[in-house]
Amino acid sequence: MSLWALAEYAAWAVSAAILLWMLGDMLRVDRDYDEELLTSSREGEIE
């Protein structure tokens, strides 16, 4: 198998890992925090 073919498989694998991590993190955050808190940002309000 050539280096380029390996790079193609690696690109698929890394992409899948990153997307799954983000999806998992989103589900974890959505489970652990109130929806009201997560959507509490208001335009123009400065912390």
Binding site: S2, M22, T39, I46
Partner: protein, 464 residues
């Protein structure tokens, strides 16, 4: 109840985007989105109008974008909210215009992101082809979008710091190429006397070239999307936007000068990577590598900025309930609009996989142009409803209403130019926005909390 939030404070605590950006980040966001246009795309203007026609388009469209930057800087220095022009339209014109502007922004940036990811895939495929391997570009398109979405997910400061570095490298590669071509040495590698011709298709060709002249600057208005995350919006936004526009005018002119001195217009007008091709003509291996890296970095920086901007516009519309409020969530740790970032990933990848590059680019340009057409109307109403002195402005653009009227006239001219080559796409895009507007007006607007959407502490508009 949240596992990590004390019960007594849950009702009073809020999560907002973080104000951590400075003028350099704003420059990196604006120039980063656009600079890829110097490395690919602008040269189709040469195919339409010849080399001189492309230069005329470059400068005329440069005037259009200077007007955009001036108008945007004034309005955004007072409407410091994520969503940029969407928030401007909401406060100054009304909800239906705001919904449309928000959609223009999301579509323009998401399609541009898809185009950038395709360019990354094509570049790597071209390198592999030189070693005799036929590379699939799909995994690298996905990898580009996934890595950049992850960066955006994890925080805006690192995202735009990375953009600053790679954009600066890409810009430097253009400067180095210009100086390496030694334009002051007559009879050097640049052959303008031999290569420049009259207008091959006359002034109609120059008009048609305006369409791709937009590619030199498309996206500079994206600086406004960072309004809610910048430390000093009134200072940083005008400073970052105007310095970005100056950078692009320099880069566009140098790019045109070097490329038209090295490549005949007939080739340049259909090249995929004109700057890289011009570097290959010099026979200098260092320049070749530098321009390859410049092209790659410019495409990555553009996709990165587009993810940032499209997600802010989508997030803002969700926060105002113009879209489901689910999209208006902020990550409690990273302080980014994480759901909007993630939601737009499959859409960008689908565009990249299904739609050809020139169509993606044209749809992006059309959405951008619709947004620019709204700006002069917005500016004239803004000055009429809130005259100078009635509210604090971080920046006041000169010669009003001349820039607004000029922008309107140049937009009208560019519509004609696009109609000449892509009339069907123009009609399809307009139908899409009309259908979306009907959905918003007759269905979605009932969910909007009408009083809550106007947040600026401004006095009542003049005449109301």
């Amino acid at each position: 109840m949240s596992a990590s939030m004390p019960e007594t404070t849950a009702d009073t605590r809020k999560i907002s985007l973080l104000r951590v950006l400075g003028p350099g980040h704003i420059w990196a966001l604006g120039v980063g989105i656009v600079l890829v246009g110097e490395f690919m795309g602008w040269n189709f203007a040469v195919g339409k109008g010849g080399a001189v026609g492309a230069l005329i388009a470059c400068w005329v469209i440069g005037i259009l974008y200077t007007c955009v930057a001036m108008i945007d800087s004034e309005v955004t220095s007072t409407v410091a909210a994520a969503g940029g022009q969407y928030a401007q339209a909401k406060h100054i014109i009304g909800p239906l215009m705001a919904f449309n502007v928000g959609l223009y922004l999301v579509m323009a940036y998401t399609m541009l992101e898809a185009g950038d990811a395709l360019v990354v895939g094509d570049l790597l495929a071209s390198v592999a082809a030189q070693t005799g391997h036929v590379l699939q570009r799909e995994p690298f398109v996905l990898l580009t979008v996934a890595v950049l979405a992850w960066l955006n997910y994890r925080g805006v400061f690192m995202t735009l710091t990375v953009n600053f570095v790679i954009t600066a490298v890409a810009f430097l590669s253009i400067l180095v190429f210009f100086f390496a071509s030694a334009p002051w040495a007559g009879g050097g590698m640049l052959q303008h006397k031999a290569l420049l011709t009259d207008l091959p298709y006359g002034w109609l060709g120059v008009l048609a070239a305006m369409h791709f002249g937009i590619w030199f600057y498309l996206g500079i208005e994206g600086t406004c999307q960072a309004a809610e995350e910048v430390r000093s919006p009134a200072r940083s936004l005008p400073y970052g936007t105007m310095s970005g526009m100056i950078t692009l005018l320099i880069a566009a002119t140098l790019t045109w000068y070097v490329c038209t001195g090295l490549l005949p217009w007939e080739y340049l007008g259909r090249a995929i990577t004109p700057l890289y091709d011009a570097a290959m003509v010099t026979g200098n291996a260092w320049l070749e590598v530098m321009l390859f890296v410049g092209t790659l970095f410019a495409a990555v920086a553009s996709a990165n900025g587009c993810i940032n901007d499209a997600s802010r516009a989508w997030f803002s519309m969700g926060r105002d309930r113009y879209l489901p409020s689910w999209f208006g969530a902020v990550h409690p740790r990273y302080r980014t609009p994480y759901r909007s970032i993630l939601f737009l990933v499959p859409i960008a990848v689908a565009f990249a996989y299904v739609v050809p590059l020139d169509q993606v680019v044209t749809f992006s340009i059309l959405s951008g142009l619709l947004g620019y057409t709204f700006m002069p109307v917005n500016m004239i109403l803004f000055r009429k409803k809130w005259p100078l002195g009635s509210i604090t402005r971080g920046y006041i653009h000169p010669f009003h209403p001349l820039p607004a009227l000029l922008l309107l006239a140049l937009c009208a001219m560019t519509y004609v130019a696009i109609f000449l080559g892509y009339g069907t796409q123009l009609a399809a895009m307009l139908v899409f926005y009309i259908v979306a507007s009907a959905w918003f007006a007759f269905h979605r607007y009932r969910f909007v909390r009408r009083g809550d959407q106007f947040t600026m502490p401004w006095p009542r508009p003049k005449g109301y």
